[in-house]
Symmetry: D2
Subunit: 472 residues, 4 copies
């Protein structure tokens, strides 16, 4: 299903390392799955902020020359996907500005639900905007704050924000990480010898050989200086419920990461086992949709005792551009990525496990290619409940109309996709896979929003108020 949902963004920052730019580049490399369409990196060398940003993959945006031109011992970086209409370079992050207190850079993962009203308010006060990203709003708020200290300005600024935000700031003095009080998006703190690292996921720490220290707490601001990290809690007087994004476990995060206190791989294995318990079937082989269904399929196989196999060959060379022949080849796009292994599939009853169904069209095409390879029966198992609702906290699902589970009943979906049986895990079953089920946002499945929305319209439609969807 991984072509239908746009990813979240990836953040990486480091303080106090002579090779800051290259380590940030590596960190972004390992967070590439969180945003494939643009990447950016800012360093500070004691005098000047140095920036390089570009459209494309991390490996396309940076080379020896661009990294060489990013001196300094502290850095932050960002990978992003581009929502419609804002895919241009000018919207890529980190955003760097100068203001009364010097230079500052910011990178954001998430989505502010009061962006529209904040922007109108700022424009009314004479602000000009050069981008359409939330980061620029945040910087305007910071620049207009007039407290005695920068930390007070920062606390005042984040208290104005509603929605999902994990943020990194790079200033002339410090590296700062910050998570919204609900904790929608992950952010972790790590240590590499005497340097400190902030990253979206622990897999970025692993790559550079950094030690995982702890997660940044929801509502916490971590300020890293040469004295090490210290914490500010701007929301300590108004505690918010936890609302970790369960979709990070199901799909976004890398299986080798630890987020929200869990191993992503272990959660996925448990989802597969639970699926086997909820939707058992008599079959010959269990196989994943490659990568997205891997661990849930392993879990299903172990619980059901049906042998696990890898039934499709992945073409590792498939890039983002792919030229179609003039005469359409049926399901070419699906086949070019994963080719079913006929010799393995022919005459077999298969359990196919995937993480989710969004539009359903890709899944339908994959099922068809398995039928053509000779599968006798196909039983599809999905490791999350039917996805029916939009996300306002940083995930770019298709519109509700395009969500198949919103338009069709279960039996209709089964027919559309063309499988013999179809089983989604239940919401309750899914939550059993984590140790603190009441600390999660499940809005895209349950429709219960931790921060419900007002009436501003579309993406900027939500206002901050008491969250009915907040269970913990």
């Amino acid at each position: 299903m991984n072509d239908d949902v746009k990813h979240s963004c990836g953040l990486f920052g480091i303080y106090g390392h002579r090779d800051a730019a290259r380590l940030t580049y590596l960190g972004l490399y390992s967070l590439q799955h969180r945003g494939e369409e643009a990447a950016g990196l800012v360093t500070y060398d004691g005098k000047t902020m140095h920036t390089h940003k570009g459209m494309g993959l991390v490996s396309e945006v940076f080379n020896e020359a661009t990294l060489h031109a990013l001196p300094g011992r502290s850095a932050i970086g960002h990978t992003r996907y581009s929502t419609t209409g804002s895919s241009s370079l000018k919207n890529s992050q980190p955003l760097v500005v100068t203001y009364a207190k010097g230079s500052i850079a910011v990178a954001h993962n998430g989505n502010l639900v009061n962006a529209y009203s904040l922007r109108r308010e700022l424009e009314g006060a004479g602000s000009i905007f050069q981008t359409t990203v939330d980061s620029e709003i945040i910087l305007h708020l910071l620049a207009r704050a007039t407290n005695a200290t920068f930390e007070e300005d920062l606390a005042q600024c984040v208290r104005r924000l509603a929605g999902a935000y994990s943020l990194l700031f790079l200033t002339e003095r410090e590296l700062i990480g910050c998570r919204d009080p609900h904790g929608f998006r992950p952010l972790v703190l790590g240590r590499l010898n005497k340097s400190w690292v902030l990253a979206s996921e622990t897999c970025a720490l692993d790559l550079i050989g950094a030690r995982f220290v702890r997660e940044v707490a929801p509502g916490e601001i971590v300020v890293v200086t040469s004295a090490g990290p210290r914490s500010i809690f701007p929301f300590k007087d108004e505690p918010a419920c936890r609302a970790h994004c369960f979709f990070e476990h199901v799909y976004f995060a890398r299986p080798d990461s630890q987020i929200f206190g869990e191993s992503v791989q272990a959660v996925r294995m448990r989802l597969g086992r639970q699926l086997a318990r909820e939707h058992p079937v008599d079959a010959d082989l269990v196989m994943p949709i490659p990568d997205s269904g891997n661990f849930a399929a392993l879990g299903y196989s172990q619980e059901s005792k049906i042998p696990f196999t890898i039934g499709m060959t992945r073409n590792h060379y498939v890039g983002r551009t792919f030229i179609q022949p003039a005469q359409e080849i049926r399901d070419l796009k699906v086949r070019v990525k994963f080719n079913p292994i006929k010799a393995l599939i022919k005459g077999k009853r298969l359990v196919i496990v995937d993480d989710s169904i969004v539009r359903g069209t890709t899944t339908k095409a994959r099922v068809k290619s398995l039928r053509e390879a000779g599968a006798e029966a196909i039983h599809l198992r999905i490791s999350c409940p039917p996805t029916k609702h939009s996300c306002f906290y940083g995930i770019d699902f298709p519109s509700r109309k395009q969500l198949i589970a919103n338009a069709l009943e279960l039996e209709e979906i089964r027919k559309f996709i063309g499988v013999d049986t179809l089983g989604y895990i239940s919401l309750e079953g899914m939550l059993k896979a984590v140790s603190k089920p009441d600390t999660y946002c499940t809005a895209c499945w349950s429709g219960v929003y931790p921060i419900p929305f007002g009436g501003e319209g579309d993406k900027f439609a939500l206002e901050k108020h008491a969250g009915q969807g907040c269970s913990g």
Copy 2:
């Protein structure tokens, strides 16, 4: 181990399709694993040969504009790796020339062992050479042949060649496929409605929706014209032993392909089962080195009843260029591609399955990263025997000195790599995985060469004579 062995080349040709260039592009796409460093495509439009070649992946070499500039109903294409000193564009294939009989293009997979002497002979007769690839020799031989018909010229030409060659020719009238009499490299014939296709592997047929007709026989020339394919057998009076490259099964070919009468995936599963029988061990988990060990690991798991898992996360974005940080990060290169999943591995006794060990350094680094992730014991199992000998038939192994199995005893290799136990499959056990074991070349393991070598020196060191290594 897949970084240590240079791949073979990939061939694709089609006759009689209005979308010949795009289908060839797709075919090359699915054969990318056979050669990542250059790609080329030639079409014939009834009047002119059109060529586009470039360094890089198929997706980098071609775009809408370049494909648009390749009109015609017949085409051949080539993907290649670059051997040292000849990585420049001028050596990329197909090679296109004009001669007395018109225009002709040729693409070659394999290696001629009498290239050196043929070239000297041709130069002595006044030939000039613009490249260093075998294809140019073949074209000179063809141009100097003076038989009554082109087919006789062709037969005369291939009878002069010694070594491994699967060839595609595109002329102004026909598409021609040809395999050396030993059948070292694969070549298959397929059909797409009224068009005929020749390709290195069946996976290329799958992608474009073509039907697999049969393999081109060793020693057969298939000439495709508008009347369909017909066969010529230039070696019918001097039959040669079969010498299919077993390394294609072990490593080169895609698991979803069928070659040498076998499903590659099924052969690999059987190799894994045999490995489990030859080298059993008490352990908690069986896991592959991702991709290269997948099916052997599945076979090992099924035979041994030890649960299968995926213990490393693959970074799908790793490109061919990767920038190292100034300060070296230990084993970074290994970790950037596959990151061990700590939560899964910690405290476990692992069976790691891979297809081969060439230099041993990459394997050593992977083992180290698994140890750091907390593995309690690591048992390495290899689905081919120790690789000790050079290949003269189209595979670019490191020099014999760099082959670890040539330099060290088994116990020394185990210590070097740092595993608790190490087990290679036996040559006999390996050959049990195929139905006709006496039709294979096993020279890189056994040192028994089907076409033994003379004394010309290095790559061009072999001359054709009776093959002691030929068992079938």
Copy 3:
């Protein structure tokens, strides 16, 4: 001398033409001489501003695809040189922002002398800055203005600016041109059928076939809407002296342009005639330093009756990058551009005419190459007085220390350059070449600044106050 002085910027805007982007591209093409290092273009299509900017020449920055992606019936464009430290893309113009009143783009030719204090003031009020160009200051001022109408905002904004500015604004409703009250930089109004054009020089009107209507007056704001242009005079109560930049006549402007009420070519011819009267000499040939001295040399020749010739061949292919050989070739850089024609020069007494001497090193090298070609005597004539003072109004001379006329006496300069005689035109003589000599700024020669400077430091060192250097 044209390598030593950085050019000013070029502006072009059009309102009400369906081919606005392409005509602006052409306009910029003809204004390329005013800024070679970056170019940008903004269009408005009734809904959205579309922008494309890049580093390099106009022909490098734009292509069919980029122009195609710039729809709309109104547009403004900019060519610029890059001052030190700000050569990056982010500083290229036009600058486009959204604010309370919608979208707006601005492009600037000139230099504000109160930029530093305005920026400090704005930052103190909470503004953030993403660039270091004056245009961003201007937009902040505009966004913070709170008058009843946009035109009042505009008038208030420009009244805050001190220094040299010709400005173009593109809004959702209008195209606006504006010149500072001293009129330092040119700006002309033209008409192409029903469309209106604003440009730095008339040569841009010629290229697109537009008719020259009139110059925008110093201190005038021209607002073009569908009703045609109308004028605002925000300085009508505080008239300023005229201070046209004479260096535009001497060097910057194209000879086929008309600016400040004069034909540039005719002014240069008159400068040459005056030079001949002030510094006559007995010689065989008069020749220009190609292009920069052309018309002054023609004038000198006509007045002196010494035959005119073209004594150097220009290499038209010399680009901006030029690779030096490892072993230095004497004066290569000079010779690669203009090669003396030995057969013409040998044994001749030459009068060489150029527009100015800045550092003197290029002139010295040219003289040497003429000596080597066999010139018997070389008499250098310069069509402006010795350049001794910095410019704060938009021309980027080298620092005062590097200005040869500031460091050396006339006789010393003559010796340094290696000529037999050296003659600069006098300031009085130069001013005779124009009809209204008292409307010009001559600060770089006379040191008399129309807007004298305060003490803020370097580029931002000037504050607005009564101008002692203002003669008209």
Copy 4:
């Protein structure tokens, strides 16, 4: 007129200089006017030939990295234009091959008139061709020669060639220059300290500071080794008439070059003086079509006493690609390059001097733009006779049908172009401008071909036989 005639090619070679590649790059730079569409450079470092070739200008094809990868103390280079159908990279020169005697590179300026028959002959003997350039034929002839020495092979090879050829060869031992016995194309020998240089024109010697030694004689082979140059005269027993290309003087060669024993600039001045004598007129100003008419206009002005001026401004930034607006602007293409200076031209009677008229369309457009600028009368003077015939010796004129002087009478041409009077120099008058008029080829004007043609068809239509057009 310079857009209608494709240039010849440029050659440069150097022997015995540690900076051979960079000096060759510089030499090509100064010969860019002889071929703008591709450039190539080959060096020999004592072991290996190193090659870099590309489409585009010298400055586009080479950069620091590519030059750095061209080590060695000897080198040859080539600039070329691309004739239709062969503009691809594979046809760019120098061509490098290996053959029985080692590696050899060749670069060619000119056109063989027996290319077709030589190629057929070679193909009949089994040769294959990878390009369509004459150089490949020459290399095949050389490789098939079987004399005792390389020099005999070389002599035998060039004796087989008919037509125009200045050639450079680079071998593992020597640098070789060679001119056909008629001497159609120039080739000069120079010296830079202890190194020897061969180049198409002396301007290339000037740039690198080399001394002009002498021209290579028609029919001479100069072999440069470490012992210095020595000469071979393969045609000494069959002397051919001289047939220097007069068009080199009129248009091709750079005015600062010396070729065929004359200063190009001086020849052009004399052509202008002769024109004034043959076609006097009463006028106010003489002006050239910039660059192409410069020296003839100066000569005309001096002879006629009518003042010389520069009436158009050249846009120095005009590149080879230029984007047209959707709505056609009249004569834009003409105006973008040269803009008439209205203030100068208005009300004047002009003598316009140009080197030639080929199709006439560009000239017509220029005349029109001068009329629009207000010229009262326009008298066109052309410094060569009407161009009526094709060239078979290396110049790519339009087809005879497109040559305006072939289709129309003088008065018709005058009307078509729109001038008040039109005067071409006479053939006799033109030849007076050189000291040895009977050593020139005037075929394109007179139709008298030094090497007349047989019947093979178009470009390859000529066979070598006694030359009726050979006057000297």
